[in-house]
Assembly symmetry: C2
Homo-oligomer: 462 residues x 2
Amino acid sequence: MAQARRTTEVMEAIRRKLATRALTPGERLPSIRRFAAVMGVSPSTIVEAYDRLVAEGVIRSQPGSGFYVAGVPPSLDLHLPEPQRERDVDPLWVSRQSLDTGRDVVKPGCGWLPPDWMPQAAMRRALRQLARGPDAILTDYGSSLGPVNLRRILARQFAEEGLEISPESILLATSASQSIDLICRSLLRPGDTVLVDDPCYFNFQALLRVYKARIVSVPFTPMGPDLAQFAQALTTHHPRLYITNSALHNPTGGTMTAQTAHRLLKLAEAHGLTIIEDDTFAALEPDLSPRLATLDGLERVIRIGSFSKTLSASIRCGYIAGPPDLIAALTDLQVATNFGGPSPVSTEIVHATLSDGSYRKHVEGIRRRLTRIRKDTSARLVAMGITPWLMPRGGFYLWCALPQRRDASEIARAAMRRNVVLAPGNIFSPAQTAAGFMRFNVSQMHDPAWEVVAQAMNTPPA
Amino acid sequence: MAQARRTTEVMEAIRRKLATRALTPGERLPSIRRFAAVMGVSPSTIVEAYDRLVAEGVIRSQPGSGFYVAGVPPSLDLHLPEPQRERDVDPLWVSRQSLDTGRDVVKPGCGWLPPDWMPQAAMRRALRQLARGPDAILTDYGSSLGPVNLRRILARQFAEEGLEISPESILLATSASQSIDLICRSLLRPGDTVLVDDPCYFNFQALLRVYKARIVSVPFTPMGPDLAQFAQALTTHHPRLYITNSALHNPTGGTMTAQTAHRLLKLAEAHGLTIIEDDTFAALEPDLSPRLATLDGLERVIRIGSFSKTLSASIRCGYIAGPPDLIAALTDLQVATNFGGPSPVSTEIVHATLSDGSYRKHVEGIRRRLTRIRKDTSARLVAMGITPWLMPRGGFYLWCALPQRRDASEIARAAMRRNVVLAPGNIFSPAQTAAGFMRFNVSQMHDPAWEVVAQAMNTPPA
């Protein structure tokens, strides 16, 4: 009994060392004899504890050499829900594959930039500054709208783009997805119809399924949604809401023209349609494109976004800009459902990083790097018979047609077995008309991604 | 002479920044070194200029942190939606008053401990450690369940309490409120009835209103819910869900007895009732009380909680422990609605702070301090004719009967005009039977709270 307790204590001691990074992956553990002395237990207790940690996969034994911390960091270890790999290729498929597989998996299907593209130095400065900051920011709840210093930065940025609003028209939330969720909760009633683009960001569909909303999609053209079909859909289906990205549309990278935006807003007004404009990728634009929210002045357009693509996805901070009465309702809703918005620790890091002198240059650097890598990746894909639907003005996506009616979902399933996450077309297509398309994230095309794609192209279709 | 002129120039530069709002109240001034470089003067000139501005009251020095523009911090300034102060005393009233008023407002009505009660040193260590941590934690999305190292700590803690579950039965969320929200989304259908205690935590009601659920309440006794009425409610209303705190019930501080827990679970089983056990205050218990989740083994009880009461409310991290199939469904739901759970930055801070050798002692210290302050506060209230309904075993709440049928909502409104947030009884009572009760947070009874309460007691009832 006492023996069991001592073993547990030794295991705990090792786990603490791992937790505090006193021991890191690949490092050798203290020798059995030495650690027995340190812990004041018998060597056999240490042997027992190490053996159990080996069984858990926390450490590994190297015969003749000793015990070593296992290779994969704890957050990526073997406790992941493995069956998820074999689930249906539905709108949640790529999300779960991208989030829940480890660093041994390559992810050209995911929706973010690699860590070494992000403003690491500025964030680390922000963390050190926060470590010396006021007590209250570290431990108190934040205000219900989110800190005004960050909302003021957003308001200034919107003003530069021609949208003059007060910081009180901005509510901070924990992500762009949660922003859309709050708006849907406030506006959608059971049975409502929601209009989306075809193709569109797969999580719009996953979210709308939660609401059991009727999803109607309109083909997206390189200039924005097909307006004739858009008008038809308004007349036929009376949608309550339209969700879109006008700048750097996900997955196509298309950008709405000024004329499309203007006409679309006139249609929306005539039919009492509310629009959510998801600006998540806007910071990656080389220059400003027409924005529905700016044209409309936030009358029937609600602008949402986040800092996940150019600052950090880890800090979990998004925003909603909308009419004051809607913002007031959403603020209450966020208190009721989450007792407030993003972490004040997070918003402080975002504010400090955005205010850091290096941030603007950092974003410009990302844009330049993406321009180059988009071109190279496109050329290499074209050589394999994979054709970009258009060459986007910015961002990290290439939406591509596969040759010879190859089925993207089948290729993605096969790729997953080789530890490569791909994003097959139909997860973006409510009408399921994109089976022959694939979305590639040009910043994540590391080996063996190219090899897997090349092999799939040489394999004759099933 | 030249030195004096340069000092004046630096002061002028700061004043210009204030005039143009390039610097706003509460904002941190440039560091001495950096500003010296910018202005092309010596650091001592900057020090001199800053000191003089401090003397003028234009800026203030925060030792160890830097210099800040004086006046109200930005998050607390006049841009706050003032009308909120006059809104109805509904279940959201105390939340909004507590979150959105500044530090000049005293908040015995709020649900948290003051910042100087929290593990500031350990959190600052965690932040410094994170500033040296891996890139991916700072900028990547986290896994969909949340990091396994933190889930493992929770699983071990549950095991110590007699609830043996795997870390895969635990989903991390952004708060206890959001945990309940996710469960409600998964389980509730329109028109469903939900059972709560009377009184109960006001945000349960705010949240259930979002679902347009029918709320039925059962009187709470010092031993748990009144079982006769509980049984009656099950038969009459067929509720889908019961939400409660069995340890340190909010607002009463009551604790369910083992017998009540056992009988309640038998009733739940007979009627197919699911239970959410909100364990948010459990860490403040002096010793372990009977827990529904432990008795039941997570068959029909879902355990939720957070770290907001003893670690930090700012980091926004909660958890759900439940049956595997429910956890799988909730995980997908959280990806669809928030693209994942809490910030990896936050979970890393929580994990490091919980693993810090000082944490257990910190919590013990809070408990001891609360025991003393509960006793003192109770005595002082009793002397005013305000009677605690029971003396809680732990926690920071005293649920008190006011003398002579005084109306708690009226007192709370009057207190708000004097910058004191109180928590009047009826916001906790679905049946509106607690007009003569008030919940006091003993850790937040700073002046002028006592003065306001004393004055209200001397005022004859309207």
